[in-house]
Amino acid sequence: MNVPLIVFFVLAAMCIIGAVSLILQRHPIHSALSLIVVMIALAGLYLLMGAEFVAAVQIIVYGGAIMVLFVFVIMLLNAGLEERTNVSKLAGIAGVPLAVALTGFLAAAVARSQDTVQAATQTGATAPTKALANLLFQDFVYPFELTSFLILVAILGAIVLAAPRGER
């Protein structure tokens, strides 16, 4: 039982607990907090896998921006407890079993697909951020620019959507 494995299981447990509590919590803020836990744990996992930059970005963007936005909106709309209506019979009956089945399928598929990718020799080395940057700004430069454009559009859309009626 080596240290990384222990760390992995701890973080994995955090993830799963967080996700479950995201489902079980009735108040959106609590759900949001659970999700933040999941994300931080994931960042830990990335670190464990030596993806430092991704881990940092995960926390900065997801934890520090996106989830803050969620919390902000929840506070802004003063969302109360979620009322457990059951209008949708389909979701009530078939939803959870189907989702479980999907999970099983996915787990099987993904795990099996790991055999098809011949696992390269594991150098425990951490991914140099420079290499990542080179990849991002050379091979993936067009997608990169596209995403920047996407972000711009999204900002405009958000402004248009959320601006009070008078200012639109």
């Binding site: 996700a19 030596g50 969302a79 959507l161 959320a162």
Partner: protein, 100 residues
């Protein structure tokens, strides 16, 4: 060293939980969060593969996914605000005008 398929199975489980939340929750914001959860699960798989293959592409994809998620959050929350403004509710089941 942690075997790669541990990560993969974890990501699958997280994704499944995200799906369950997606189906199970009624609060629009929470449903939205569950989508984010699914995205995260996918990211985990990406990073796991990138580690398994010693290729950084996976991590680049993760970055893109994060960017897209940010954009999605911006627009989606704007939409949610609109919905609440117009219908004074966050419960998806009471936002069901889209039917015959």
């Amino acid at each position: 060293m942690v075997p790669t398929h541990y990560y993969l199975i974890l990501s699958a489980i997280l994704f499944g939980l995200g799906v369950i939340a997606f189906v199970f929750k009624r609060n629009i914001i929470t449903i939205f969060m569950s989508i984010e959860l699914m995205l995260n699960a996918v990211n985990l798989a990406f990073v796991a593969f990138s580690q398994a293959l010693n290729k950084l592409d996976g991590q680049v994809f993760v970055l893109f996914v994060i960017v897209v998620a940010a954009a999605e959050a911006a627009v989606g929350l704007g939409i949610i605000i609109m919905i609440v403004r117009n219908r004074q509710t966050l419960n998806v089941e009471s936002v069901n005008l889209l039917k015959l």
